[in-house]
Amino acid sequence: MENIVDLPVIAPPSSGCSSGSCGSTAQQMNSMSEDIRRRVQDHPCYSEEAHHHFARMHAAVAPACNIQCHYCNRKYDCANESRPGVVSELLTPDQAVKKTLAVAAAIPQMSVLGIAGPGDPLANPERTFATFRGLAEKAPDIKLCVSTNGLMLPDNVEELAKHNIDHVTITINCVDPEVGAKIYPWIFWKNQRIFGREAAEILIAQQQKGLEMLVAKGILVKVNSVMIPGVNDEHLKEVSRIVKAKGAFLHNVMPLIAEAEHGTFYGIMGQRSPSPDELKNLQDACEGDMNMMRHCRQCRADAVGLLGEDRGAEFTMDKVEAMTLDEDFLTTALEKRKVLREKVAAEMDAKRAKMHAPQAPAQAVITFQRRSVINEASAEFSAGRPVLMAVAAKGGLVAEHFGHAREFLIYEATAVGAKLVGHRKTELYCEGGDTCGDGESVLAKTIRALAGCEAVLCSKIGFEPWGELEAAGIRPNGEHAMEPIEEAVMAVWHEMLAAGKLNPPASERQVA
């Protein structure tokens, strides 16, 4: 008679409360203090949940820069390139204010105006602050945000606080000047161009000082870091620890963008970008007490709209100049935004309340972990392994057709919940009409982009991609159309678990 000891392991129920425990995206929101949560719940970059519902705009008013990074080239502005240092039109502060008001009226989900470039917003701060002043007067409900390399941050913290800027991002790629010397060829400091290690020392010191000063003022600080394999990939773990200790509340580790066509040092010299796996492993390693941002789209300094959906072309200056933005127009627009924000906040509160509701015992999935010598035929399964899934998403729901998705959100499903871990861009499979004939090579590219995912969730998918995806080991799933993403992902995970697909390999099973 075998000595069998059954240890019940209760997994979360498969419906209703899928994001109920740690590791899930929504849990990230719940572990913040109430005060911070309220401040970030409608900022699409600071809150993963918010990015499904709210839009932001970047105003390109800051062209001058005071440093050089090996991943930036100031020469090119190409509409096809979506990289942070690139814009199509430089704006004066007045133009920026006008454009912001126009966008905020046309897109009521807009909650944030950020100044991120195309150079550094604090290199010549007058334009930056003039824009903020203009906006604070005409659209006081719009949050103000700024992203900087930090060199001139200590000099400007006082001014930032005075302008009610609630969110500041600093790009910190290193805390070790030896690493810095491989990222920054020069800085302009106290009327001189300084090169090499000395330049890096000054930049690092200023960034750290600026971070400390902002935190002391109660301003929310996000740290952006560019992951450059072989240069700072291991080092960023230490950066994460240090900025967390100093009070940064979010860390955004992004993959390097470097192609020879961009004419950047890294692009020309063949520095490679990290693979999605390498990026995720680093982000996972930095996660701990530190909140990691996983949904950054590395957008342009003139980006407009929901993350991943640039609507800049609708709001070029000539179009904006043609609009009349009088008092009535502005008041109506502000009202619309307020109503929408209240609605979304109510939805998010309801979702959070549901998460804390007592779980119905009948819905709990109970699995048993047997620790004994047993024959293979009666072996039971332990709690299942993590699964990556791609989601064609819109507004936080599985609401996009496979063929219409420009990007897929990547979720990791584990026994304790679903978490957004990144996104993968694709070319449009189906441009609509008669162009679907060219779809095949695009499909192959998409399948390659989704490598590592075991399922792709969408609202609808055609017959042609279905077969190819299945052949590539990515199970298409259109059965959860219009459902909230995390619920749908967990439902699919539980289906896979029940079908016996999530066992560890035989060699890993526990034996007594």
């Binding site: 820069c65 100031r74 150079g119 020879a260 040092f265």
Partner: protein, 92 residues
């Protein structure tokens, strides 16, 4: 004696506020230096300010038409490597 901004200027605004003689002005297609006002920062700074912040190699030249920031001096890209990359890109 004066420096000159040439057509590779990208209109980034970095130099204009720094000139102690207010010799730099916005123009189309690119910023220009008023040669009558430019002192090359002699007496004011150890190095010409505009040339010290300009990110574009070769965009500012001296009276002998020599680039204040020669190719490769700011980016770290050896000119030969740059030329090779351009050839490869055109060949695609």
């Amino acid at each position: 004696m004066a420096l000159e901004i040439i057509e590779t200027c990208v209109n980034c605004w970095a130099c204009e506020p720094l000139c102690p003689s207010k010799a730099i002005f916005e123009a189309k297609p690119h910023f220009l230096i008023d040669a009558d006002k430019c002192t090359e920062c002699l007496g004011d700074f150890a190095a010409a300010q505009c040339a010290s912040i300009c990110p574009i190699e070769g965009a500012i030249v001296n009276e002998l038409n020599e680039p204040m920031n020669p190719a490769g001096s700011l980016t770290g890209i050896p000119p030969a490597r740059w030329a090779q990359a351009q050839r490869e890109i055109s060949a695609r």
